[in-house]
Amino acid sequence: MAYTKETLVISNPSDKLLKVVERLRTHKRTQLEKLRNMKSEEFSRRVILS
């Protein structure tokens, strides 16, 4: 059974699309920074694996 669709490949995306992607990447960097700075008690779930 196929759970994953065939990859949509877009070659040479337009500048407009790349600008949107750059905004998404900037947002992701912000979220990564947020994750790095979160205090342990702020997580909705925490686990320590042995």
């Binding site: 995306p13 947020k34 994750l35």
Partner: protein, 172 residues
């Protein structure tokens, strides 16, 4: 939605965040479709905070289970995952032809592998992984970007609308 998870295993700490995507950047007709059906598109972000050991199957299993639980308990959730090349992968498995693969391509392949394995082993149906790859090369020089949408089949039309919009914006 907003949910976060911290996994610590010895010196390694992984942090995972599921956070709502700002859909206001999308065209009005897609925003309307999302809003009218109460769809929540959330981005999955996974980050290693410390440690350089190879990530074990138990950690991957734990992350997958947490995400799957959230997905199952939120019937209108669509997960968006962009495979980043912002952070490296320390101690990654380079035995099987992965050696020269960019980190985001590696993450994309791993993401699909984990998704397919989970779906098969838990006998889940009606959920689909839609990968999108942007190849931005000129004269053989450039980079690729990889994205995934995980959606229930009843929401696949929303993913199709997003795909069509990406194609349109890209002039394809």
């Amino acid at each position: 939605m907003e949910a976060s998870y911290s996994i610590v295993q010895k010196e390694n700490e992984y942090r995972i965040l599921l956070t709502s995507v700002n859909t206001e950047v999308l065209p009005a007709h897609i925003q309307e479709a999302i809003k009218s059906r109460g769809i929540d598109i959330s981005e999955l972000i996974i980050e290693r905070i410390s440690g350089e050991s190879t990530t074990g199957q138990d950690v991957l299993h734990d992350i997958t289970s947490w995400v799957a639980e959230l997905f199952a308990s939120n019937p209108k959730l669509i997960i968006y995952y962009s495979c980043d090349d912002i952070t490296p992968i320390p101690s990654r498995n380079e035995k099987s032809g992965n050696k020269n693969m960019p980190v985001n391509a590696y993450r994309s392949r791993l993401f699909t592998h984990i998704f397919d394995t989970y779906m098969a082993s838990h006998q889940v149906s009606g959920v689909t992984n839609t990968p999108i790859q942007l190849d931005n090369y000129e004269n053989g020089v450039g980079y690729s970007l990889f994205f995934h949408f995980i959606a229930r089949d009843i929401h696949i039309d929303i993913v199709e609308m997003l795909k069509e919009d990406i194609l349109e914006v890209s002039g394809k």
